[in-house]
């Protein structure tokens, strides 16, 4: 119980600092923040906006106002000459797109990395292993945006096999969804495949040296069973931790990939906010991403503790 409480406390502290940083972004803007937020506005409008955002209030009042808005879904607005449109409206549509992209890329990466890693570890030093390792070492050096552009050009344009832009919801047309998500997901997954595979391989090689593997073999159960049931299980926990840490990478990657393939997700919103210098929207988007990242890592932590019997019993 104590460990759970400590973890929760840690989560709260981190969330506090993260949101504090984001909340104060607007006041960190150089010069008069209202110039940056709504440069087109008249002086009266700016004064109103200043009042609205509470930019003259003490820091903690600003934070309090911002955080209470954030948790109730008030993400501020897009400012334009024609008025203010709530950011939440766009986020509601964009968030599922980004989540789909990341989840699909992650699933794809694991589907490829796990068998590769397991087999490479099992046949460590073989030609297959060496070839896979070398190839994936190369993948590791390939920026996902570069891969995305190359794929978009060759597969999308030259070969014309797959569309290179746009989004279709899986509920509307699953096949079309897959077709449109294929290139973005592959671009995002390739780097992750290399990360997971290399990790799993070295971890499994260590596991395969354990006595309990020899023992499992001596029971006379088939090698595949030894490999998948006995050896993969402990290693999969390491994989889980890294998958959690990797979410940060995935988010960063997804932002760029979305922009390249014109997927209407959070990354595209972020890109538009930067282009149009919509600082309030940027602030909210960054907050959602950062808080989401912290929460996912917390969940992975908890999941790890639940899945690993050694930790589970230590904390109980």
């Amino acid at each position: 119980m104590k460990a759970v409480a400590r973890r929760l406390l840690h989560l709260l502290v981190v969330l506090f600092f993260v949101t504090l940083f984001v909340a104060l972004l607007t006041s960190m803007l150089p010069g008069d923040p209202t110039d940056a937020i709504a440069g087109f506005a008249s002086e009266e409008q700016k004064a109103e906006l200043r009042e609205d955002l509470g930019l003259d209030d003490p820091v903690w009042v600003q934070y309090g106002r911002w955080i209470s808005g954030f948790v109730t879904g008030d993400l501020g607005g897009y400012y334009s000459v024609t008025g203010e449109r709530p950011v939440m409206d766009r986020v509601r549509e964009a968030l599922p797109v980004s989540l789909q992209l990341m989840v699909e890329a992650q699933i794809l990466a694991l589907l490829i990395a796990i068998p590769l890693g397991v087999y490479s570890a099992y046949r460590a030093g073989s030609r297959f292993d060496r070839a896979t390792s070398a190839t994936l070492f190369g993948f590791l050096a390939l920026p996902n945006f570069a891969l995305a552009l190359v794929l978009a050009y060759y597969v999308g344009v030259e070969l014309g096999w797959l569309p290179v832009s746009g989004y279709v919801a899986p509920a509307d047309d699953l096949l079309e969804h897959v077709r449109r998500m294929a290139l973005p997901a592959i671009s995002l997954a390739v780097g992750q495949i290399a990360v997971y595979m290399r990790l799993l391989r070295s971890d499994m090689i260590a596991t395969l040296q354990e006595d309990f593997i020899t023992m499992a073999k001596a029971k006379g159960i088939p090698p595949s069973h030894v490999l998948w049931r006995h050896a993969l299980r402990p290693s999969s926990l390491t994989l889980l931790t890294v998958a959690g840490l990797n979410v940060g990478t995935l988010i960063g990657g997804a932002v760029i990939i979305e922009v390249i393939f014109s997927l209407p997700g959070m990354g595209t919103l972020l890109f538009e906010a930067i282009q149009a210098r919509q600082y309030i929207a940027l602030q909210s988007l960054v907050a959602i991403i950062a808080v989401g990242y912290v929460l996912i890592n917390f969940l992975v932590d908890v999941l790890y503790a639940v899945l690993d019997p050694r930790i589970r019993h230590a904390t109980a």
Binding site: E210, F212, T214, K219, G220, H230, P234, R310, H313
Partner: protein, 442 residues
């Protein structure tokens, strides 16, 4: 229980065309292919074992005893060269493919490993680990297998067996875990059990219980057992026959009683003398065997024990003694000057007169002499690097890394870590033959 009985007896009822003989090992050699050359971990070993009997396999760390048991089972990796034959109930195990071999593992031959802390899968429930071989070999459903697992845990005297089934290994003590390991090994009713240093990693108090458990189980099941150990003391009370191994070869073999009453091989004698005795005052120096086992990459031409032997003569260094039969039936040894004979006495006297250090040490048990002998041997033996006197056995293997030590790395490790519990043999098996004080902090 019923299900298992049926299955197991069905197998056991097969006509025993080979009488009482269960295992027949003929000139078995196991060589590791390494870039530095061939490491002869097991070099021409023959023995046979009858149903229900126990063979003790004794020797220092790195003598090849663990490799031998794994080699017989066929559990070694593919870069291993294996010659000779292994016959189990008339069937050549060494000629079987992996899949056929697997059908023997668990059901016919099983193994209990040295360290129960590492031989159970830490992230798998005990129950699952026990039922696994049952479900595979006998195609049982989960319920059946669990019932048998329960009775197995009962039979190895684990309290609250039903609760244990749902626990993970780390929730059990070392002794309990070894009982679980034994239960797993017994699950499919094997006819032959290899127990590879089953008590080395355990507390002294638990050691006796585990050995007792093995003995009762063996009797109840009419199961043969190969008990691998570095401890002659363990062997004395729990085996029918003993084979002493040195540098990959069997150097003496006899029915247990015969061996202890009239041992012929100087090495066996030295091994016996290195066991601490309760009758000795505490802090008595133990007798040690000077020097270290030979390099298995390049064993000495004559008797492999000659460089460390107090009786060694020129002949010993030049000509390898064959395994010859003693007067007693079933007693084999490998020595030109067997202990207790006049020739041996004369040889020892000659050595003493010539101030051969090994001989003087053997007679005097003198510490300062021991150190000198050590130094002399280190200087003489080019194969042996500088004596690495480090925190434990496994670390000491590192710097000079004689393959002998590495080939049996797992055994070494436990020797190192269980210095207190296995103090007697530590004296003989320490990498540089260091002396051990009884009751001293080691």
């Amino acid at each position: 229980m019923i299900g298992r009985r049926k299955q197991v007896t069905a197998v056991a009822d097969a006509p025993p065309a080979h009488g009482r003989r269960l295992l027949e090992v003929e000139d078995l050699a196991t060589h590791f292919v390494t870039p530095r050359g061939l490491v002869r971990a097991v070099d021409g070993v023959s023995f046979s074992l009858e149903r229900g009997k126990t063979l003790g396999l004794v020797g220092e760390s790195g003598c090849g005893k663990s490799v031998l048991s794994r080699s017989i089972m066929g559990l070694l990796p593919s870069n291993v060269e294996r010659h000779g034959s292994v016959e189990f109930e008339g069937q050549r195990l060494d000629q079987l493919g992996p899949a056929e071999l697997r059908s023997f593992w668990g059901t016919q031959i099983a193994m209990v490993f040295q360290d129960p802390m590492t031989s159970l899968n830490p992230v798998m429930r005990i129950g699952r680990q026990i039922t696994e071989p049952l479900r595979f070999h006998f195609d049982m459903d989960r319920g059946q297998a669990e019932k048998i697992a329960l009775s197995l845990l009962e039979s190895v005297n684990i309290p609250e067996p039903a609760r244990r089934l749902r626990q993970y290994p780390h929730e059990l003590s070392g002794g309990m875990r070894q009982r679980v390991v034994i239960a797993i090994a017994l699950a499919c009713g094997p006819k032959l059990l290899f127990a590879d240093e089953p008590t080395t990693a355990l507390d002294v108090t638990v050691q006796a219980q585990i050995l007792e458990l093995l003995r009762t189980q063996q009797r109840e099941r009419d199961m043969a057992m190969v008990l691998v150990t570095h401890d002659l003391g363990v062997v004395a009370g729990h085996t029918d026959e003993v084979a002493v191994m040195y540098a990959g070869q069997i150097v003496e073999q006899a029915p247990t009683r015969t061996l202890f009453s009239s041992m012929r091989m100087p090495y066996t004698a030295a091994l016996l003398q290195s066991i601490p005795r309760l009758t000795n005052a505490s802090h008595t120096r133990l007798n040690v065997i000077a020097g270290r086992p030979p390099d298995l990459l390049d064993p000495p031409p004559g008797c492999r024990f000659a460089p460390r032997c107090p009786y060694a003569q020129d002949r010993c260094r030049e000509e390898q003694p064959p395994l010859i039969e003693a007067d007693e039936p079933g007693h084999l040894y490998r020595c030109w000057y067997p202990v207790g004979t006049d020739e041996a006495r004369e040889a020892l006297e000659r050595n003493l007169a010539a101030h051969v250090p090994q001989a003087e040490l053997a007679v005097s048990g003198d510490m300062t002499r021991a150190a000198e002998v050590e130094a002399a041997l280190e200087g003489a033996g080019a194969a042996a690097g500088p004596a690495a006197y480090e925190s434990d056995g496994s670390a000491a293997d590192g710097p000079d890394g004689t393959p002998a030590d590495q080939a049996d790395a797992s055994a070494d490790e436990s020797d190192g870590s269980s210095g207190d519990t296995a103090g007697g043999t530590e004296a003989s098996s320490g990498p540089d033959g260091a002396e051990v004080e009884i009751g001293g902090s080691d």
